[in-house]
């Protein structure tokens, strides 16, 4: 750029333009040097950090987008996995509920069967007890009747048997006892 500027300045000097506009080459050179210094300072402390910051921000945005995509994919996978887990859990829960219902039904059936058996057993025992009590009562009545009959018979015989009857019975008893 500097050779081009020098060449332009030289051409302008030769054609007389420089004299017409009052241009001094040394001032132009100084301004060019000042501009370069200013540009370099601006570039170093202004433009370059700004570009770096922008690149960093672009990288961050790109990373964020990339991370967002990964997150979205991971989220979708997690959603699918959670759906699968929920489905499995629902199946297991249904299985547990079915099993619990079956156990409850079996338990209720068993309880009912036991209760029926106990009731039948109690009924049978009650019937046996009643029958036993009935027999006992009949035996007692029979024994009491027999006792009364025997007592009455004894009283009647004691009054009605004559001495002749007793003597005859004694003779028969003697024959019976002596034949032993």
């Amino acid at each position: 750029m500097l050779p081009t500027l020098l060449a332009v300045t030289e051409t302008a000097h030769e054609s007389g333009i420089v004299q017409q506009f009052g241009l001094e080459p040394k001032f132009v050179l100084m301004q060019v040097v000042s501009f370069l210094i200013l540009f370099s300072v601006l570039y170093k402390f202004g433009i370059k950090p700004t570009i770096a910051t922008m690149e960093e921000r672009n990288n961050k945005i790109a990373d964020g987008l990339k991370h967002a995509e990964e997150t979205q994919v991971r989220l979708a996978a997690a959603a699918q996995e959670s759906a699968q887990l929920i489905k499995t859990a629902q199946q297991q829960a249904q299985k547990v509920v079915d099993e619990a219902r079956k156990i409850a039904k079996d338990f209720a059936d068993k309880q009912q069967a036991d209760a029926t058996a106990r009731a039948a057993d109690t009924l049978a025992k009650a019937q046996q007890s009643i029958e036993l009590e009935h027999r006992k009562m009949l035996d007692q009545a029979r024994g009491e009747i027999a006792r009364l009959v025997v007592k009455t018979t004894e009283q009647v015989l004691a009054k009605k048997l004559s001495e002749a009857d007793r003597a005859a019975y004694n003779d028969a008893a003697t024959k019976e006892l002596t034949a032993i």
Partner: protein, 130 residues
């Protein structure tokens, strides 16, 4: 107080000495009692009790107690004596005892054996059978 083995053995020996031809002899019994009185063996009271029981049992075996309701003739008692003597192979003496509760019939007791043919016995058997 329970009699020990030696006491029982002594009472048994004294009882054997009291028998003559398988019958209790009054003279032998008197001799045994005199011996006990004179010697006074150990546990004399227990010996006497055992001896008394043995003599009583043996005497009962020679006696037939005839319980009866109604009249019993001497001939009947004689028949019973003969039958029991023949059965037990020793002389048995019959003695009568009235018992109106029998109603009619005889009950003969020889030792611990009882023979009965009475109306009361038959009624009792009937009552037990019902």
């Amino acid at each position: 107080m329970r009699a020990d083995k030696k006491t029982k053995l002594l009472a048994k020996q004294l009882f054997r000495l009291s028998l003559v031809n398988g019958q209790v002899s009054a003279e032998q019994v008197a001799g045994v009692l005199g011996y006990i009185e004179k010697i006074a063996p150990r546990h004399a009271l227990s010996v006497l009790k055992l001896y008394h029981r043995a003599i009583q049992t043996e005497v009962a075996k020679s006696q037939a107690l005839v319980e009866h309701a109604g009249a019993v003739s001497d001939a009947t008692l004689q028949l019973i004596e003969n039958a029991m003597s023949k059965k037990y192979q020793r002389p048995v003496t019959a003695s009568a005892r009235p018992n109106p509760k029998l109603l009619a019939g005889l009950r003969v007791r020889v030792g611990s054996d009882v023979y009965e043919s009475t109306v009361a016995g038959q009624l009792t058997a009937l009552s037990n059978a019902v």
